[in-house]
């Protein structure tokens, strides 16, 4: 899942960035409203974590412009203003959720996770594909009841494929949702990551769940045969 964090406090930017990355999110950051709007309009994000009071273009103006441009990306507002009117104004501007500073990092992560689930039309934190189970809340993966340890980026890739289980997911989409803007577009990082993930969740005795569609991308499914 790819997240954009727009926050003017360098300390918060760093801390929240660490928390999101460690939780398996691909993260881009912006320190002011203008940069935030440019990034939000240039890339696809699953969730935008947006501070309200920003230098330059403020958070609410950014959000309104984003919505006016037709964007439906889920937005979590962060603000020090806790008055009911402030929350109402934020939600009316098009925000999906609202978090008042100071907040618990766990709560921020839970809200970002909930917004990611909503982005893919599900509310339950559990995704099941065949004998594969993914708990998106605890980031735990089991196959045939056996826990599987994944690196954050691997988990991120698996969750993204699982959320779109049965659909062909292109390399471009994987790049946009799993990797931040520092990835080299010419690299074969996606193929390597898929290959690595296959090994982790597969093994010699288990059926392949991630199938390759040449020229198209990858599909995660339990019922379909196909190329590895």
């Amino acid at each position: 899942m790819r997240v954009l964090l727009v926050e003017d406090s360098e300390t918060l930017r760093h801390s929240i960035g660490v928390a999101l990355k460690k939780s398996g999110y691909a993260l881009d950051v912006a320190a002011d409203g203008d940069d935030g709007l440019w990034r939000a309009q240039s890339s696809l994000y699953d969730v935008i974590v947006l501070d309200v009071m920003l230098p330059g273009l403020d958070g609410l103006s950014l959000l309104r412009r984003l919505r006016a441009g037709g964007s439906s990306t889920h937005v979590l507002l962060l603000t020090a203003l806790d008055a009911v009117e402030s929350r109402v104004v934020g939600l009316q501007a098009g925000a999906d959720d609202y978090l008042v500073k100071p907040f618990a990092v766990e709560e921020l992560l839970a809200r970002v996770d909930a917004l990611c689930r909503r982005a893919y039309g599900t509310k339950a934190p559990r995704i099941v594909v065949g004998d594969l189970e993914i708990d998106t809340a605890s980031k735990a993966v089991r196959r045939a009841g056996q826990p599987i340890q994944l690196k954050p980026r691997e988990y991120q890739l698996l969750e993204y494929l699982a959320r779109r289980a049965g659909e062909v997911v292109t390399r471009k989409e994987i790049e946009e949702h799993i990797y931040d803007d520092r990835i080299d577009p010419m690299s074969n990082v996606v193929d390597s990551a898929v290959s690595s993930l296959r090994k982790r969740i597969g093994g010699p005795t288990r059926a392949t769940l991630i199938h390759t569609r040449h020229g198209l991308g990858y599909v995660l499914t339990a019922s379909e045969g196909g190329e590895e």
């Binding site: 760093h14 801390s15 460690k22 806790d82 008042v100």
Partner: protein, 486 residues
């Protein structure tokens, strides 16, 4: 609690009762006096008629027509009389007296009247009249002698008079009680109607809260209440402004503190959950946040101390020019880096007497703001004017995008033009603190926007030893507010 309405009702009713009692009493007494006067006049006329009709024939004294004069009326008893010589010997009396004497004061030559009881216990009124007896049937030319003087005492039934007075008294009491009842009934209603605007005022006041201070009392009130509603509305305006300022301050302060608290909490939680992600910058950031919060708290405390008049003022002679150039020194490199022109206008320069620590704090803030907010290539002008009793320091600088509304809020606590409050170097307390220090020194700090878009901050200080609490300038006890950290 005393009720104004009850008090007014009590006063009105008591006042009406007293007035009615006094008025009724006066009417009764005056009427009584007049009626008794009339009665006495009639009695005297009757006595004079008796005296004229009295004749002496030797030892025999007769009253011609006495039966007619003293006969009883329809509702009154017969009059009684007695004729006595000067020595008190009775010459003649009514038969109805049955030998009883009609007592009168002896020796009185003028007629006089008194109340008495007639035979049969009938209340009466009497007159004593002195006259001289004349022989019957002839005109005696000899001069009258005192020895001939006799006193006629004539008593008359006064029950009719008493009945009239009693009727009058009852009428007055009845009328008074009726009027009093009317007052008791009417006054509360009248007061209720008259005091309706006050009730309305009370209801309006009861409906006002700290959150609804924009409401105002109606000005459609009786003339007597107009000064009250006008005064209350003025007070509400001042309260509203004050509450707005305090609300903005609380909100700004909350925001100013929420962000560093959020930073500390997030850093701590991330460090605890992912210890491997901990970096040196985390500790530096923690220290910077702690210092920033410490700075906010110190400035707030200094501001509170200053506003509460708890600052200790230590005045001493200072050379203003060297002091200002010394304060400017640390800012000069930044001004040069921003290609800012600095113009010094110090005429006449001279010594001033003031608190050096507070003055340094104020001027440091003005110069720091000027350097920070003057755009690159702009101009900063520092001017002084010293007179015998006061001195002014003006810092004028080029500004960009500063509005008159911004200037009006410069001295609001925690106000920052940058609503995002991103910069950790400022907290919006510098100028309020500088003004508070200026006022503690008996002066003031004002901001104004010139026609050319230049911003001027003018510090005016008086050189009076009477303002503030002066202490020995060598006093080493410099409180936290005197650290010069503006």
């Amino acid at each position: 609690m005393t009720s104004l309405r009850s008090q007014l009702i009590r006063t009105f009713v008591l006042g009406a009762a007293v007035l009615l009692a006094l008025g009724g009493g006066a009417v009764y007494l005056l009427t009584r006096r007049a009626l008794i006067g009339q009665f006495d006049t009639a009695l005297r006329a009757k006595a004079l008629a008796v005296s004229v009709a009295t004749e002496q024939d030797g030892d025999r004294i007769t009253i011609d027509g006495s039966e007619r004069l003293t006969r009883p009326g329809d509702r009154r008893a017969a009059d009684v009389f007695q004729l006595r010589q000067a020595d008190g010997r009775s010459l003649l009396r009514s038969e109805s007296l049955n030998g009883m004497d009609l007592v009168s004061a002896a020796g009185a030559t003028e007629p006089y009247y008194w109340d008495m009881t007639l035979p049969g216990g009938v209340p009466g009124r009497a007159i004593a009249l002195q006259f001289h007896l004349r022989p019957s049937g002839e005109r005696d030319e000899r001069p009258l002698e005192d020895a001939d003087a006799v006193t006629l005492v004539l008593g008359s039934d006064r029950r009719e008079l008493d009945r009239t007075l009693q009727t009058l008294g009852l009428m007055l009491v009845g009328t008074g009680l009726t009027l009093l009842a009317a007052v008791v009934t009417a006054v509360p209603r009248l007061l209720k109607s008259t005091m309706r605007p006050l009730d309305r005022l009370g209801r309006q006041a009861a409906g006002m809260t700290a959150r609804k201070l924009s409401a105002r009392f109606s000005t459609d009130v009786p003339r007597e209440l107009a000064p009250i509603t006008g005064g209350l509305n003025d007070l509400l305006s001042r309260l509203e402004q004050s509450f707005d300022r305090e609300r903005r301050f609380s909100s700004d302060l909350a925001h100013e503190l929420r962000t560093p608290v959020a930073e500390l909490r997030t850093m701590a939680e991330v460090a605890l959950r992912w210890p491997e992600a901990r970096e040196d910058r985390t500790d530096h950031a923690t220290l910077a946040i702690a210092r920033r919060m410490e700075g906010i708290v110190s400035r707030l405390l200094a501001l509170l101390r200053s506003e509460d008049g708890q600052l200790e003022i230590a005045r001493e002679p200072l050379a203003l020019g060297p002091l200002l150039t010394d304060i400017w020194r640390p800012f000069a490199p930044k001004a040069a880096a921003k290609a800012q022109s600095v113009v010094w206008l110090m005429k006449p320069d001279g010594d001033v007497v003031t608190d050096p620590v507070l003055l340094r704090s104020i001027v440091t803030n003005l110069m720091e703001n000027a350097v920070n907010y003057t755009p690159d290539g702009g101009t900063i002008s520092i001017a002084t004017a010293v007179s015998a009793t006061r001195f002014d320091i003006e810092v004028t600088n080029t500004v960009a995008d500063v509005t008159a509304d911004d200037v009006s809020r410069f001295f609001d606590r925690m106000w920052r033009r940058d609503t995002s409050r991103t910069s950790a170097e400022h907290s919006g307390l510098g100028l309020p603190l500088a003004r508070s220090f200026a006022r503690a020194l008996g002066g003031d700090l004002e901001a104004s926007l010139g026609d050319g878009g230049d911003l001027t901050l003018r510090l005016t200080l008086v050189e009076s030893g009477d303002i503030g609490r002066s202490v020995d300038c060598d006093d080493a006890d410099r409180s936290g507010a005197r650290s010069g950290d503006v």
